[in-house]
């Protein structure tokens, strides 16, 4: 009996300690999805910094964040049943790739060419979603419904949204810190294309104008893997 009381007390104390630790941590975080939550604030900052570059793309039924030079854009929709092609996608100028040997016919089905732009992305779902009035609200809807699409690129200190098949749109967690804290975190937004389908479709990666074909450290800690990507980074400030 005495032993049982001791055991029950010990378990009780352990449960209280665990509860306290969890409460403290969750209270600090506000939510378990800290990446999603953090990404909303950063994304909002990016939107604010490129105010003139954010427009609603009627054709694709989504908000579009355009690069300062107009050569690329990130399109996202908060109303998943409305977007005709993809719910999240990149829209990039096809010309540099075509000049580097791209045979459009050889691209996989998740690539589309529209008005001289290459569109690549993914469908998140078919649910109705809310009629979102603001680009931030549309993004929040994605975070809420498809949190696993949102990631964090540790070596760059960037948030990212997966567009499927290794394609990403990344933005700085804190644009203010760019270049001052981490040398690597030197751009505010980055359009990331997975090079393999493009190379398979005839692109000579070294000849793509306006895109950096380089290795990027992906993954975490010791497992961070160096992978080749096409990058198109921009500073917004």
């Amino acid at each position: 009996m005495k032993k049982n009381v001791k055991l029950i007390s010990a378990i009780g104390v352990a449960v209280v300690i665990v509860a306290l630790i969890l409460t403290g941590i969750l209270k600090t975080a506000g939510t378990i999805d800290v990446v999603g939550k953090g990404s909303v604030d950063s994304f909002e900052a990016v939107l604010s910094a490129s105010d003139s570059g954010v427009v609603f793309d009627e054709e694709n039924k989504g908000w579009k964040l355009e690069a300062p030079d107009g050569s690329a854009g990130f399109i996202w929709s908060g109303n998943f049943s409305e977007s005709p092609l993809f719910d999240v996608m990149l829209s990039v100028d096809a010309a540099p790739f075509v000049e580097a040997g791209l045979d459009i016919e050889k691209l996989p089905e998740y690539y589309t060419v529209q008005d001289g732009m290459l569109l690549v992305g993914t469908q998140l779902g078919e649910d109705q979603g809310k009629e979102e009035a603001t680009p931030k609200a549309a993004y929040e809807e994605i975070v809420r419904k498809y949190p696993h699409q949102i990631g964090y690129h540790t070596p760059m200190d960037h948030y990212n949204i997966s567009l499927g098949n290794g394609n990403l749109f990344e933005w700085a967690k804190n644009m203010e810190m760019n270049g001052s804290v981490k040398e690597a975190q030197d751009k505010d937004i980055v359009f990331v294309l997975h090079p393999e389908p493009l190379i398979a479709a005839g692109v000579d990666p070294e000849k793509v104008e306006g895109w950096a074909y380089t290795t990027v450290s992906m993954g975490m800690g010791a497992s961070a893997e160096e992978m080749y990507k096409f990058l198109k980074p921009f500073d917004l400030q």
Binding site: A10, A14, I17, V18, I21, L22, G24, I25, L26, T28, A29, I32, D33, V34, V35, K37, G38, P147, H148, I150, G151, Y152, H153, T154, D157, K173, G219, M220, G221, A222, S223, E225
Partner: protein, 830 residues
């Protein structure tokens, strides 16, 4: 001064043992304090008038260890029959409690059992049973708890608890290790729950790790309670190292979890929960294996303890009654039937039998016993039923004394352990210092990489292993002395063990050692006019007062010849020379050449005959009647069968062998020749034997003296190692360093070889224990990494640390394979 042995619980490494020794050793009134980590015992020699035992116990408790109270009380569980309600239980309880000497009585009606705590010296168990029966209930067959069983059960429980803790820890730590490592492995794509993806759900990932490490930390709570307490008391031990290392890992991880919660996801790369969890698991595994191995080192004692029977048949009021062994009292008449064990020491009063005393002497041949002969507890009655009177009970029996001697030996320390003891005392603080210095150095060396510095800090703390150092010597001594005891070789401690292996000269006493010690009269030669039987009769009558084996042989010779002995007067024993007595109006001198020379008695008439007898290995005893040589009584002793083989074996081991005797030179030379001895020291008086030993020691020899422990105690004491041969007599036990229970000389080389093997084992253990730390700590501190080599992960450091203790124990247990092949002229080498 008083000696006491206290059972200590809660020690985890040599540093704990050192601390107890140090603290207790400082108390006023303490002569000596020695802790054996392997047997978990504190041996204290103290002045009880200056320092009560309770003060020592309190001091040990105060520094954080448990002293298992020794109590004079016994506990017995008696099944009760005939109880019908709770009131019956109350009644039985009251009836038993009323008895003087009963400390507590508790009756459980549901289980129908009475648990009684009582003092055996104040109340007999039979009286308790009688009280129950008088109250109207039935006292059924009892279930008594004995100390050995309790100890065994305690150790088994300890192993079970450790095993459960290890399994619990492993169940949580393995998935923890998996989720910590799987995302880092790039060679193969290991399945991983998407919901825990550290890149997408870093907080969930960190919390999952935290939740998985908590059970491991919970089952390893003792590392923290003991470790931090010891640290607080400025005597850190192995637990402190584990506690500091894993706490640092957990705190750093908690900090990073908090950072993640705050939005700094870089923290996900700096979680070390799995390091703490796996370290605890591996250390628990090591501790479990260590407990299993430690239990095996003390098996010899357990075997000895298990020899004693649990009950005895006593004759009470003319009827036989079976009672627990603790109930036997001195003076009781006990009955032992064929096939049963003798319960206590005593003397046969009725009946004849043959008793197998191999447990005491190692001699497999049963010994015939008749009325008046002694019998010993735990020996086996083989043929007839005997009745004997109990003379020594409890801790006074020969078996109990042997157990005590072996226990003391196992608890003793060898001088070779001193270095390990000194190092252990400073080990943990030094390791803490090295860990801190290495961490700081790497922190600055890497330009402020706190994570790298932490890895180094934890690895150094966790790899350092004071346990291996602490276990190196006592485990080998325990197994070595235990193995000796199993073979009838009682080595009285680490000092004896260590000295014995250095022996290069052995001196054997002749009578009773090289020879059987049961001489017989072979020749009676007389001068003209003296009748042989008359001479033997007079000499035997005079020798009746002598305790010397030769004198007793002459008495037996006369008795065998049917010669009645005369009344002797004015007997005087002339040490080393002979005797003098008055018989039937004559003055009789019987003794050696020296005695005759002193009394100016001419030996010319019998010189030639005397020399001839001596050359045949016989001892001529000159007899003078009223100052005139009247004849010689020659006595000869048979050389033991094993003597020649044993001496050959000793020669084979490179040991010089000498024989010492009070006998004349020629007889001694003849015996020496028979057995192949190199040097003979003849005509040496008993009091001069120690001088002869001393002379050899002055020549730089390490000398062992082998004797029967009766008349050569000074020589045994003077020798570097005194080896008493023959039996467990009190004198032998007291004066010798090694006691050989049987009379077989082959046990001498066996004992020396066992000591060599044990010391060799200790050296191997110390080499590995020191070597492991000397190599492991610099590697953990990043010395190899500094020169482009690998960096040691703290998890591997913990695994290595656990294995180091286990490897030392496993090596010590190899000694259990030591075997002897007596009688073939060789001692087998493991």
């Amino acid at each position: 001064m008083k000696n006491e042995v206290l059972n200590i619980r809660g020690m985890t490494c040599a540093a704990c043992a050192q601390r107890i020794e140090k603290v207790v050793g400082k108390l006023a009134g303490i002569e000596q304090a020695s802790v054996n980590l392997a047997s978990e015992k504190l041996f204290v020699e103290f002045d009880p008038e200056v320092l009560p035992l309770t003060v020592i116990q309190d001091k040990v408790k105060k520094i954080g260890y448990e002293v298992v109270e020794k109590t004079d009380s016994s506990t017995v569980v008696i099944p009760i029959g005939g109880m019908t309600c709770a009131a019956c239980a109350q009644r039985v309880e009251k009836a038993v409690k009323k008895l003087e000497g009963v400390t507590n009585s508790s009756v459980n009606f549901a289980t129908e059992k009475a648990t009684v705590v009582y003092q055996p010296q104040a109340v007999r168990l039979s009286a308790i049973r009688e009280a129950i029966e008088k109250a109207g209930y039935e006292a059924l067959e009892i279930n008594r708890q004995d100390a050995a069983k309790e100890d065994r059960e305690r150790k088994q429980l300890e192993i079970k608890i450790l095993w459960t803790k290890f399994i619990t820890s492993a169940v949580f730590s393995l998935p923890l290790l998996y989720i910590a490592m799987a995302p880092m492995i790039t060679i193969v794509q290991l399945p991983f729950p998407a919901g825990l993806d550290p890149m997408r759900y870093p907080l969930l990932y960190a919390l999952a790790e935290l939740l998985l490490v908590l059970p491991a930390l919970g089952v390893g709570y003792k590392f923290y309670t003991v470790g931090f307490k010891a640290l607080w008391q400025r005597s850190p031990n192995m637990d402190s190292l584990i506690a500091i290392g894993t706490t640092a890992a957990v705190l750093y991880s908690l900090y990073n979890t908090w950072l993640i919660a705050k939005g700094n996801f870089m923290g996900v790369d700096h979680l070390y929960y799995e390091t703490a969890g796996v370290i605890i698991t591996l250390i628990l595994l090591g501790k479990t294996l260590e407990a299993v191995s430690k239990g095996r080192t003390g098996e010899a004692i357990k075997k000895l303890m298990g020899l004693a029977p649990k009950t005895a048949i006593v004759i009470q009021n003319g009827a036989e009654k079976e009672i627990p062994i603790d109930e036997v009292e001195i003076g009781d008449i006990l009955v032992v039937k064929p096939g049963a064990k003798i319960p206590v020491d005593g003397s046969v009063v009725e009946g004849r039998t043959a008793i197998d005393e191999s447990m005491l002497t190692g001699e497999s041949m049963p010994v015939n016993k008749k009325a008046g002969d002694p019998v010993y507890a735990a020996s086996l009655n083989t043929t007839g039923t005997i009745q004997f009177q109990a003379e020594k009970i409890g801790s006074d029996t020969a078996l109990a004394r042997i157990i005590q001697l072996v226990e003391e030996a196992q608890g003793s320390k060898a001088p070779i352990a001193q270095m390990a003891d000194i190092v252990s005392g400073y080990f943990v603080p030094v390791v803490c210092g090295i860990a801190a210095l290495a961490g700081i150095a790497w922190y600055f060396g890497t330009g402020g990489d706190i994570e790298f510095a932490l890895t180094i800090f934890i690895a150094v703390l966790v790899i350092a292993c004071p346990c291996a150092l602490g276990l190196a010597t006592p485990t080998a001594i325990m197994v070595g002395t235990g193995k000796g005891a199993e073979n009838g070789i009682l080595i009285k401690g680490g000092q004896a063990l260590e000295t014995a292996h250095k022996i290069n000269t052995i001196i054997f006493d002749k009578t009773g050692t090289i020879t059987e010690g049961k001489p017989t009269v072979t020749d009676v030669l007389t001068t003209e006019g003296v009748e042989k039987n008359r001479l033997l009769q007079l000499t035997a009558s005079a020798e009746k007062g002598s305790e010397h084996p030769l004198g007793q042989a002459i008495v037996r010779g006369a008795e065998d010849a049917g010669l009645p002995l005369f009344t002797m007067e004015n007997f005087e024993s002339l040490t080393g020379r002979g005797i003098e007595a008055n018989i039937d109006g004559h003055t009789i001198l019987a003794g050696n050449r020296k005695l005759m020379a002193e009394r100016e008695i001419s030996l010319t008439a019998m010189e030639e005959a005397s020399d001839l007898l001596a050359e045949e290995g016989k001892t001529p005893m000159y007899v003078a009647l009223d100052g005139t040589l009247s004849g010689i009584v020659a006595v000869a002793d048979v050389v033991k069968q094993s003597s020649r083989a044993a001496i050959e074996e000793l020669h084979h081991m490179g040991i010089e062998v000498a024989m010492i005797t009070g006998d004349n030179k020629k007889t001694a030379a003849a015996i020496a020749k028979q057995v192949g001895i190199d040097h003979v020291l003849a005509e040496v008086l008993p009091q001069d034997k120690s001088n002869e030993v001393k002379k050899l020691q002055e020549l730089g020899r390490k000398v062992a003296m082998v004797g029967d422990g009766i008349n050569d105690a000074p020589a045994l004491a003077q020798a570097d190692i005194g080896i008493a041969i023959g039996s467990g007599t009190d004198v032998a036990m007291e004066s010798a360093d090694i006691v050989l229970m049987r009379s077989d000389l082959m046990d001498v080389p066996t004992g020396i070889l066992l000591s060599k093997k044990t010391i060799q084992n200790i050296k191997q253990n110390l080499f590995w224990a020191f070597g492991y730390n000397v190599i492991g700590i610099p590697i953990a501190a990043g010395v190899l990494y500094l020169f482009g080599g690998p960096l040691l992960n703290p998890i591997f450091a913990a695994a290595a640390m656990s294995l180091s203790s286990v490897s030392v124990l496993a090596n010590a247990l190899r000694l259990k394979r030591f075997q002897t092949t007596v009688g073939k002229g060789r001692v087998s080498r493991p």
